[in-house]
C-alpha cells in the first residue's frame, strides 16, 4: 500500500516537473539584484518573476520578507523566480522611490507587470504561492461568483471538456494553494473554476454542505449531451491537498468501466495502484448488454471510491461458484479475490463503502504510525521490543515475587532436599529468560494455591546459577518442571504453563496413576469422585479400567498408559475377582473402561479392544474429549489435534438451552462426524472477539455459528443469521456447504511468519572499513596471491609490531636517543655515520 502511494507521489512529482517548461534555476532560490536597472534589464520574455524592493539601508526586520524568501523554493518549481532588488539610496524611480512601493511585491511576466501584491496578502508561503499562481493562471482558473456564471461556463464546456469546480472559504489558504497547484498541472486539460462564495456552493448542492471547509467537484461535462441538465458531478470526499486532488483527477480520467478478459488475479488498474478496490462484474455472453449497463451504473456510484471492471466468464476460466456475479479485489497484496453472490447494485456499493470505511480508519492510523515512523526513521523501530512475553516480563521485573513458599535448590542441597518430602516439584528455569520468568510467576501462584498441601514440596533451580546441576538432570530447555518421587523415576510436566493446570497436575500426581482399587466400594466411590478423599474436592473426569484376571496384557498396557498420562488424567484400575460383577453393572465385559465425567453424568462404558500402550493412550485421550465442548484457550490444542474442521458457535455468554440441545444432537452423530462441534463463550474467552473481528469487518449479531476449515483451505462460512439454529437447518446448510454452494465470508491468512523487522546489517556496515571482507568474485588467485602456500594459521606471519615500527621510521631513535636501540639491524655503511 505504501509502495503504491510512493509510486503515485513520484509520478506526481514527475508530472510537476514536466509541466514546468521553464527550467528551474539552480539551487539558490532567492536571487539578489543590486538595482532596479539591473533587474529590469535581466528579465526574459515570458518568464515570471516576483520582485520586491528594499532600500539599501534596511529599516529593521521585515517579517514578510522571510515568508517571501521561504516561498522562493516552492515558486521555483513553477518556474517563477523570486528576486530581491536593492534600491540604491539616490534611486527615486517607480519601485524604489515611493515609500509604499516598498511594502509590496510585484509580479512580472517578462517585463510586464501583472500584479501588485500588498504584503498583507502574502502572509505565509501558502498564500504567496496561491496568490502568485492565481494571478498567473488567470485564464486557466476562472473565478465565478454566481450560479449563473457557473452554469454558463458549464454550458460552454459541454461535450468538449470536463470542469473542476473548487470552493475555498478564503483565498491564500493551503487549500487554495493546492487547487492552484493542481490547476498549474491540469489547467490545460480541464477547465478550473474557483469560488469563495458560500452561497454558490449551497446552490450547487442538494444537501447542506459544510461551507467552512473547501470542496472540490469534478464535473463530467465532456460526456454531457443534454444542455438542460447540469453535468454529472463527483465530489472529492477528502481534504483538499495536492495529492488528493491529483489522485481524484487521475481517477476521473480513468475509463469508467474496464473490460477484462484475463485472470482477475493478474489484473492491475489505476484504482488498485492508488489503493482502491476493484469490483468485477462477472458477465456472460447472453447477458452482456445488461451486465454492461449494470457495470456502468455501479461505476457511476462508485466513482472515486473503486474501479469497476467487466469480466467475461466466457473468456476466462474461473474456478468459482457459478452463482457468483461479483468479485472484489482489494489493493493489499496477497489478499485473495472475494467472489460474491449479490442481489442488487446497492449491495455492491455498500460492500465497497464498508470496506473503505474500515480502511480509512486503518489508513489514518497508519498515517499516524508513519509519522511516528519518520521520527524514528533512524533505527526503524528495530530496537523496540515486539515480543509480548519479554516486554511483559521486563515491565514486571520490579515487582517482587512471593516466592517464600518455594524452596531454592542448589547443587549442594538438591539431593538432600529431594529425600525430605514424599514428592518434590522442581522448576528448572533461567533467571534471564523471559518465558522462564513468566512461568515462575504462575508457579508462585501455584505455591500460594497449594500452601498447606501435605506431601508436596515446591522448589526451584536457577540454571543460570547451577548449570552443572541442570545438565546433570538433563534439563536442556527452560523452563522444565519435574516431580521427583522417592524411589521412582521423575515425571516431566508437559502441559500448559498456567496456574490451574500446574496445580491440578501437582495434585493429581500425588496419587498413583493408575490407582489400584481393591474393593467394590472403593471402585464405586472412585467413579462417584469420592475416593480417594484427597481428590474429592477437585472435579475431574474419572477413568476406571476393569480387568479380569485373565486380561493381563491389557492391564499392563493400561498401567503403562497410566504412567504416560500421570498428572493429566485420573485413572483407576480394578482387577479383583469380582471385576466381572462390576463391569456387568455397566453392561460391559472386561477388559473395559468406565468413564465418569463428573457428578451428575451417567457412567459410560467402553470395551477395550486394543492392547498396545500407544493405542490405549490415544484412545483415552480421545474418550476424554467432550462431545460438544466449550472451546477455551487451554483446551483448543486438544481439539485441533483431531485435524477436523470446526463448527463453532460464538456466543456472548452461556448458550441457550435450545442451541445447546440442537448442537448436542448434531455432535452426537459421532463417530462418522467429520467435524468438531463446539462453542465459544465470548465472556469467558474474550479473545474470541478478535477472531470475529478478523473474520468480519462488521461485528455479526450473536450468537453466530461458523464453519471454519482450520486445516484445509482456511475458509470461514457463516450460518445464515435469519435461520434458527436447529439440527436440520444446520445439516442442510452443511450439505450446501459441502456441495460448494456457499460463499466463504472470509479466508484465514495463509501468510508465513516472517521476521517482524529487519536486523542490523553489520556485514554491510563493516564492508567500507574492512575492504578485504568484500565478496571475492570467483577464482582470482592472481588478485589474492596466496600469502601462505601452506594455508594454515600456524605459519601465518602476522605483520609484526617490530617491522611496522621500523618501517614507520621514527627518526632520532638511533643509539643516540634515550630510548635507544643497542644496534641497528641493517648493516649498511650509514650506521657508522650515525654513530
Amino acid at each position: 500500500m505504501s509502495a503504491q502511494k510512493d509510486r503515485w507521489v513520484s509520478s506526481l512529482v514527475f508530472l510537476l516537473f514536466c509541466a514546468c517548461s521553464i527550467p528551474g534555476r539552480g539551487s539558490a532560490s532567492l536571487q539578489q539584484e543590486q538595482s532596479p536597472q539591473h533587474y529590469f534589464s535581466g528579465l526574459e520574455a515570458g518568464k515570471a518573476s516576483l520582485a520586491f524592493f528594499t532600500p539599501s539601508v534596511s529599516p529593521g526586520p521585515q517579517p514578510f520578507l522571510e515568508q517571501i524568501e521561504s516561498s522562493a523554493e516552492a515558486l521555483q518549481d513553477y518556474g517563477i523566480s523570486v528576486v530581491k532588488v536593492n534600491c540604491p539610496k539616490e534611486d527615486v524611480s517607480r519601485y524604489c522611490g515611493k515609500e509604499n512601493a516598498l511594502r509590496k511585491a510585484f509580479l512580472f511576466r517578462g517585463n510586464r507587470l501583472i500584479r501588485e501584491f500588498p504584503t498583507d496578502a502574502l502572509f505565509d508561503v501558502n498564500s504567496i504561492v496561491a496568490n502568485v499562481l492565481f494571478a498567473l493562471l488567470f485564464n486557466e482558473v476562472k473565478y465565478v461568483e454566481t450560479l449563473a456564471d457557473l452554469e454558463s461556463t458549464e454550458n460552454v464546456l459541454k461535450g468538449k471538456s470536463n470542469m473542476v469546480f473548487a470552493y475555498v472559504p478564503a483565498t491564500g489558504t493551503a487549500e487554495h494553494r493546492a487547487v492552484m497547484e493542481a490547476a498549474f498541472v491540469y489547467g490545460n486539460i480541464h477547465q478550473f473554476v474557483l469560488t469563495t462564495e458560500a452561497a454558490l456552493l449551497k446552490a450547487t448542492s442538494h444537501d447542506n454542505p459544510d461551507v467552512t471547509s473547501a470542496q472540490l467537484l469534478f464535473c463530467h461535462c465532456q460526456q454531457a449531451t443534454d444542455p438542460a441538465q447540469p453535468c454529472r458531478r463527483t465530489a472529492l470526499g477528502q481534504p483538499l491537498t495536492l495529492l488528493n486532488i491529483h489522485r481524484h483527477l487521475k481517477l476521473m480520467g480513468a475509463p469508467l468501466v474496464t473490460e477484462v478478459a484475463e485472470d482477475p488475479e493478474k489484473i492491475s488498474t489505476v484504482h488498485l495502484q492508488l489503493g482502491l478496490p476493484l469490483v468485477f462484474i462477472l458477465s456472460q455472453r447472453e447477458t452482456y448488454e445488461a451486465d454492461r449497463r449494470t457495470a456502468e451504473f455501479v461505476a457511476w456510484q462508485l466513482l472515486g471510491k473503486a474501479g469497476v471492471a467487466l469480466l467475461s466468464r466466457d473468456l476466462v476460466d474461473l474456478n468459482v461458484l457459478h452463482r457468483s456475479n461479483v468479485a472484489l479485489k482489494t489493493p493489499e497484496e496477497g489478499m485473495p479475490i472475494q467472489y460474491l453472490v449479490l442481489e442488487d447494485t446497492d449491495e455492491v456499493v455498500t460492500l465497497v463503502e464498508d470496506k473503505s470505511k474500515v480502511k480509512q480508519i486503518q489508513a489514518d492510523e497508519q498515517q499516524e504510525e508513519e509519522e511516528e515512523d519518520e521520527d524514528e526513521h533512524e533505527n526503524n523501530n528495530q530496537d523496540i521490543q515486539d515480543d509480548q512475553v519479554v516486554e511483559a516480563v521486563s515491565r514486571d521485573k520490579k515487582r517482587e515475587l512471593p516466592l517464600e513458599q518455594i524452596l531454592v535448590l542448589t547443587e549442594e542441597n538438591f539431593h538432600s532436599s529431594l529425600s525430605e518430602a514424599a514428592r518434590t516439584v522442581v522448576l528448572f528455569y533461567a533467571s534471564w529468560e523471559a518465558v522462564s520468568l513468566a512461568v515462575l510467576r504462575s508457579y508462585s501462584e501455584v505455591a500460594a494455591h497449594l500452601k498447606g498441601t501435605l506431601g508436596v514440596l515446591l522448589s526451584r533451580v536457577n540454571c543460570w546459577d547451577w548449570p552443572g546441576l541442570c545438565s546433570q538432570e538433563n534439563v536442556t530447555q527452560f523452563p522444565t518442571m519435574r516431580i521427583y518421587k522417592e524411589g521412582q523415576q521423575s515425571v516431566t510436566y508437559d502441559g500448559m504453563w498456567g496456574t490451574e493446570e500446574l496445580s491440578s497436575f501437582i495434585l493429581l500426581s500425588r496419587i498413583p496413576c493408575p490407582l489400584k482399587l481393591t474393593t467394590m466400594d472403593e471402585a464405586e466411590g472412585y467413579l462417584r469422585g469420592e475416593f480417594p478423599s484427597e481428590l474429592s474436592s477437585h472435579p475431574h473426569t474419572s477413568l476406571l479400567g476393569v480387568f479380569s484376571t485373565s486380561s493381563r496384557e491389557a492391564r499392563e498396557a493400561f498401567e503403562e498408559a497410566g504412567n504416560i498420562l500421570s498428572g493429566h488424567v485420573r485413572m483407576g484400575m480394578y482387577f479383583e475377582d469380582d471385576s466381572l460383577a462390576l463391569s456387568r453393572k455397566y453392561s460391559v465385559s472386561p477388559p473395559a473402561l468406565l468413564l465418569a465425567r463428573g457428578r451428575g453424568h451417567s457412567v459410560e462404558s467402553i470395551a477395550l479392544s486394543k492392547h498396545s500402550t500407544q493405542d490405549m493412550v490415544q484412545m483415552i485421550r480421545y474418550e476424554l474429549l467432550d462431545v460438544f465442548p466449550e472451546i477455551t484457550i487451554s483446551n483448543l490444542p486438544q481439539y485441533l489435534q483431531l485435524r477436523k474442521p470446526f463448527l463453532i458457535l460464538f456466543s456472548a455468554g452461556d448458550i441457550s438451552q435450545m442451541e445447546s440441545k440442537e448442537m448436542l444432537k448434531l455432535a452426537k452423530r459421532r463417530p462418522q462426524q467429520a467435524f468438531v462441534a463446539c462453542w465459544l463463550n465470548l465472556k469467558k474467552t474474550p479473545v474470541g472477539h478478535g477472531i470475529l473481528r478478523t473474520y468480519f469487518s462488521t461485528m455479526p449479531s450473536l450468537p453466530v455459528l461458523l464453519w471454519v476449515n482450520l486445516h484445509a483451505g482456511g475458509q470461514v462460512f457463516k450460518f445464515p443469521p435469519e435461520q434458527s439454529i436447529t439440527e436440520t437447518n444446520i445439516l442442510s446448510w452443511l450439505q450446501k456447504l459441502q456441495a460448494g454452494l456457499e460463499i466463504p465470508s472470509s479466508t484465514l491468512s495463509e501468510e508465513d511468519w516472517k521476521p517482524p523487522l529487519p536486523a542490523c546489517d553489520f556485514l554491510q556496515m563493516m564492508e567500507p572499513s574492512v575492504p578485504e571482507l568484500s565478496p571475492q568474485p570467483g577464482d582470482t588467485p592472481a588478485r589474492h596471491p596466496p600469502k601462505n602456500p601452506g594455508g594454515d594459521t600456524a605459519s601465518r606471519e602476522e605483520p609484526s609490531q617490530e617491522s611496522t615500527a621500523q618501517e614507520g621510521g621514527v627518526p632520532g631513535r638511533g643509539l643516540r636517543g634515550t630510548a635507544p636501540r643497542v644496534a641497528a639491524r641493517d648493516k649498511q655503511g650509514k650506521r657508522h655515520s650515525e654513530l
Binding site: 505504501s2 534471564w432 498456567g498 511468519w753 521476521p755 546489517d761 596466496p786 643497542v822
Partner: protein, 675 residues
C-alpha cells in the same frame, strides 16, 4: 582383567618387546593429565609417560621465583561453575569439584608449589594411568596398514624399553631454554640457574636479556638491591593489558617499567641480541659492544684492543659496565627425540620455537600425532590462550573429541533443540561458556540447522580453523546452514603500541555493536559450510571467511549479555532474518487467536501451545503486555457495532470504543512486516 590386558598388550615385533597402548601421552604436565582425564573418562586404552617421579616437573622448577601469574579468583559473585572457570586460570577440567584450584590456594597469584601439589592430586584422585620415571628419548614410526593412521608410533625410554601406540599425544611442554650465541655469551647466566636470592645481587649492575615475564620477574626480585638493571631485547615491550594476550608482560611483573619511566636508574633498550657482544675486563666487569667491532679480532686479546661503542659515541646508552648478564629468553620445544620420518618441523618466524601443527593440533608431518598443551600454541600465538592452562584445557578436550570421532565412531557431542530455543541456547553459552571466552577466536560453538529450520543441533567448542572439515571431523551433517558463535576483541583495538584507554573506547549501542572493542560474542551465519579454499582466502586476521550474515552482540562492561533490549532483541532479529521466520514468544492467548485466524503458526506457538504447552502467563503479565500494546484487551469492548453513530449519549462511549479498537497494535504484532 588388568593382568590379562597387560599380557594382551605385550607383543613381539622382530625380537624387540613392545608394550602396546592405543594412546600414548608424553608428559604428565597439565596438558598430559588433562588428556589422560578425557581418555580415562571415555574408557580408552592409554598411558602417560613422565620423565620425573611426579607430575608437573616443569612447575617443580619454574617459574624460578615461584609466583604463578595465572589468576586464581576466589569470588566472582556467581555460583555458576562454568562461568567461574573464566576467572580460574589454573584448574584442569574434571567432574570432581574437589579439583578446583581455589580449594588449593587463596592467593590471587598462587605459588608454583601449589600447582605441583594440585597436579599430583589430579593424577592420583582421578586414578590416571601415569608411568613415572620414564623419559621418552626416541620416537619413530612403524608402517602398518592395519594401524589407525597407517603406522604405529614406537617409543623408546631411557632404559631402552619400547612402547607401541596407535596415536601419540605430545604434551611435553616447552622446556629447552632458548639460547643466543654471540661473542662473550659464555659470560651470560641462564634463567634456569641464576640465583634467586636477592642478596647475591647487592650493589650490582645487571643486564637482563629478554623482555618476557621471566625477565621482568627476575628483575622484580632484585630491583631493590641492585645499582640498576637494564633490560635489552629485540622487540618493544608488549604489555598484556594493551595486547589482550596473557603471555605478554603482565602488570604484576612490571615494576621495572615504573622505575624506568620515573628515571630511577633502571632502563629498557631495544636491539637485536645477535648483534651483541660482551667483553670482560680485568676487573671482571662486563662491557657491551657490537658484534661487528669484533670481526677479525681475537676476543681473547684483551679488552684494550677492542673497540667499544663509547669510543666513537661517547653517550652510548649501555656504556656502563655490568656485573652480571642474565638470559631470560624463554623456552622452546624439544625437537630432538623425534625420528626424521616423523617430520616434526619448527614453525616459521616468531613461532619457530613451536612444532608445526594444523589448526586441528595434529602434526603437519605425521598423521595421528597431536601436540597438546603449551607446545601447541603456534595455532594462536600472541592471540589467544592456547599456550596456557586456561586455554589448552579446552583445546585438549577438542582434540579428544576429534579422536573419539576419528577412531571410535563417537560423533562430536551435541544437543538437539527446537528452533524456539535458538536465541536462548546462544545467550546461555555466551554468558557462561568458559572455553569460548578463554579461547576466543579459536574455539567456537557451532549450530547446525536441521531441515526447514525447525530444529538445530548445538556443538560446543569446535576448533574454528578446521571449520571446512566439520562434517568429517565431527560426524555431524551441515546441510542446511550453520551459525558459528565465537568471541572476538575489536579489530585494531589490541596491540603493543595501542592506547587502550582512549575515550569512548567502549560501544554501548546495539546498532554499533560491530565496532565493539572488548571481548564480545560474534555470530557468523553460513548458508553452507565454507570450503577449505574459502578458509584459506579469508581476510587476514579474520578467524573465518566472509559469512552470509554476521552479528555482533555489543560488548558489555559486566560481560553479562542478558539485557532483553540491548543484547537479546538484536540477536533475535538477526536469527529471524537468517532463518526467515518469526522467533518471538507468544502467550497462549495470542496463539489461540492465531490458530483461528491463520493457516500457519509462528514456531513458538507451534512447538509450545499446539503441543498443549502454551504459556498462559499471569494476570500481571497480561496487563503489562496490553499496556505495551503487544496484546489486545477484548474484555471491555462494546459490541453493539450497528448502533447509530450520531446518538448523543453515545459520543463519549463512541470515542472510547474507537479508542479501544485500535487495529494497529495487533496489526503490529500479527503483521509487522507490513510497513
Amino acid at each position: 582383567l588388568g593382568l590379562a590386558l597387560y599380557a594382551g598388550s605385550l607383543c613381539a615385533v622382530s625380537g624387540a618387546t613392545f608394550l602396546y597402548h592405543d594412546y600414548c601421552v608424553i608428559g604428565a604436565g597439565p596438558a598430559g593429565l588433562q588428556a589422560a582425564y578425557f581418555l580415562q573418562q571415555a574408557g580408552r586404552d592409554y598411558v602417560v609417560f613422565e620423565r620425573s617421579h611426579a607430575p608437573g616437573s616443569f612447575f617443580a622448577l619454574y617459574p624460578r621465583h615461584r609466583k604463578l601469574i595465572s589468576i586464581n579468583k576466589q569470588y566472582t559473585g556467581k555460583s555458576n561453575s562454568e562461568f567461574n572457570l573464566r576467572h580460574d586460570w589454573n584448574s584442569l577440567l574434571s567432574h570432581d569439584w574437589r579439583l578446583l584450584f581455589r580449594r588449593y590456594s587463596r592467593d590471587f597469584f598462587p605459588n608454583a608449589d601449589t600447582m605441583v601439589r594440585y597436579l599430583e592430586d589430579f593424577a592420583s584422585l582421578l586414578k590416571l594411568q601415569v608411568q613415572y620415571n620414564t623419559a621418552i628419548i626416541h620416537v619413530t614410526l612403524e608402517k602398518n596398514e592395519q594401524a589407525w593412521n597407517g603406522h604405529y608410533f614406537l617409543l623408546t625410554d631411557q632404559d631402552r624399553k619400547n612402547y607401541k601406540c596407535s596415536s601419540l599425544l605430545v604434551a611435553a611442554g616447552m622446556w629447552v631454554p632458548n639460547v643466543v650465541n654471540f661473542p662473550g655469551s659464555e659470560y651470560v647466566e641462564g634463567y634456569e640457574t641464576v640465583s634467586i636470592n636477592p642478596e647475591d645481587f647487592t650493589g650490582q649492575t645487571v643486564l637482563i636479556l629478554g623482555r618476557g615475564n621471566s625477565a621482568f620477574e627476575t628483575a622484580e626480585n632484585i630491583l631493590g638491591v641492585t645499582n640498576f638493571i637494564h633490560m635489552v631485547s629485540r622487540s618493544r615491550v608488549r604489555l598484556s593489558w594493551a595486547t589482550h594476550y596473557v603471555g605478554d608482560l603482565r602488570a604484576i611483573n612490571n615494576g621495572l617499567l615504573d622505575t624506568y619511566q620515573l628515571k630511577s636508574l633502571d632502563g629498557l633498550l631495544e636491539g637485536d641480541l645477535e648483534d651483541l657482544a660482551i667483553v670482560k675486563d680485568k676487573k671482571g666487569k662486563l662491557h657491551i659492544t657490537l658484534g661487528f667491532y669484533l670481526e677479525n679480532r681475537n676476543i681473547s686479546a684483551g679488552i684494550d684492543s677492542i673497540t667499544l661503542p663509547q669510543d666513537e659515541l661517547d653517550n652510548f646508552a649501555t656504556r656502563a659496565p655490568y656485573d652480571r648478564v642474565i638470559r631470560c629468553l624463554g623456552w622452546k620445544f624439544d625437537f630432538s627425540i623425534y625420528n626424521r620420518s616423523l617430520r616434526i618441523m619448527p614453525g616459521k618466524g616468531n613461532i619457530k620455537k613451536y612444532p608445526q601443527i594444523k589448526p586441528s593440533y595434529e602434526s603437519r608431518g605425521t598423521r595421528g600425532l597431536f601436540i597438546l598443551g603449551t607446545a601447541s600454541h603456534s595455532v594462536d600465538f600472541r592471540k589467544s590462550a592456547g599456550g596456557f592452562i586456561h586455554g589448552f584445557r579446552y583445546t585438549t578436550r577438542a582434540v579428544h573429541r576429534l579422536l573419539e570421532n576419528r577412531h571410535h565412531g563417537v560423533p562430536w557431542p551435541s544437543t538437539v533443540y527446537p528452533v524456539t530455543q535458538l536465541t536462548n541456547s546462544i545467550i546461555k553459552r555466551v554468558n557462561e561458556a568458559s572455553g569460548l571466552y578463554q579461547m576466543f577466536s579459536v574455539l567456537a560453538d557451532i549450530i547446525l540447522l536441521r531441515e526447514n529450520a525447525t530444529a538445530f543441533e548445538y556443538l560446543e567448542e569446535y576448533p574454528v580453523g578446521i571449520l571446512a572439515e566439520l562434517e568429517m571431523q565431527t560426524g555431524r551433517k551441515a546441510h542446511n546452514g550453520l551459525f558459528v558463535i565465537i568471541m572476538e576483541y575489536g579489530r585494531n583495538f589490541s596491540g603493543a603500541d595501542k592506547d587502550v584507554f582512549y575515550y569512548n573506547r567502549a560501544v554501548g549501542e546495539a546498532q554499533h555493536a560491530w565496532q565493539s572493542n572488548f571481548l564480545h560474542p560474534v555470530i557468523y551465519y553460513y548458508k553452507r559450510l565454507p570450503t577449505e579454499r574459502e578458509m584459506r582466502l579469508r581476510p587476514p586476521d579474520w578467524p573465518l571467511p566472509r559469512p552470509d550474515a554476521i552479528h555482533h552482540i555489543v560488548e558489555d562492561f559486566l560481560t553479562d549479555w542478558t539485557a532483553p533490549n540491548a543484547h537479546i532483541l538484536p540477536l533475535r532479529r538477526f536469527l529471524e532474518n537468517c532463518l526467515d521466520t518469526d522467533l518471538r514468544n507468544f502467550f497462549a492467548e495470542s496463539c489461540f487467536l492465531f490458530a483461528f485466524t491463520h493457516q500457519k503458526l509462528p514456531p513458538f506457538c507451534q512447538q509450545g501451545y499446539m503441543r498443549m504447552q502454551g504459556l498462559v502467563g499471569s494476570q500481571e503479565l497480561w496487563q503489562h503486555a496490553v499496556q505495551a500494546g503487544l496484546l489486545q484487551n477484548y474484555t471491555d469492548t462494546d459490541f453493539s457495532g450497528d448502533r447509530p453513530p450520531d446518538s448523543h449519549d453515545g459520543s463519549q462511549e463512541q470515542l472510547m470504543r474507537d479508542h479501544a479498537i485500535p487495529v494497529h497494535p495487533l496489526q503490529h504484532l500479527v503483521n509487522a512486516k507490513d510497513e
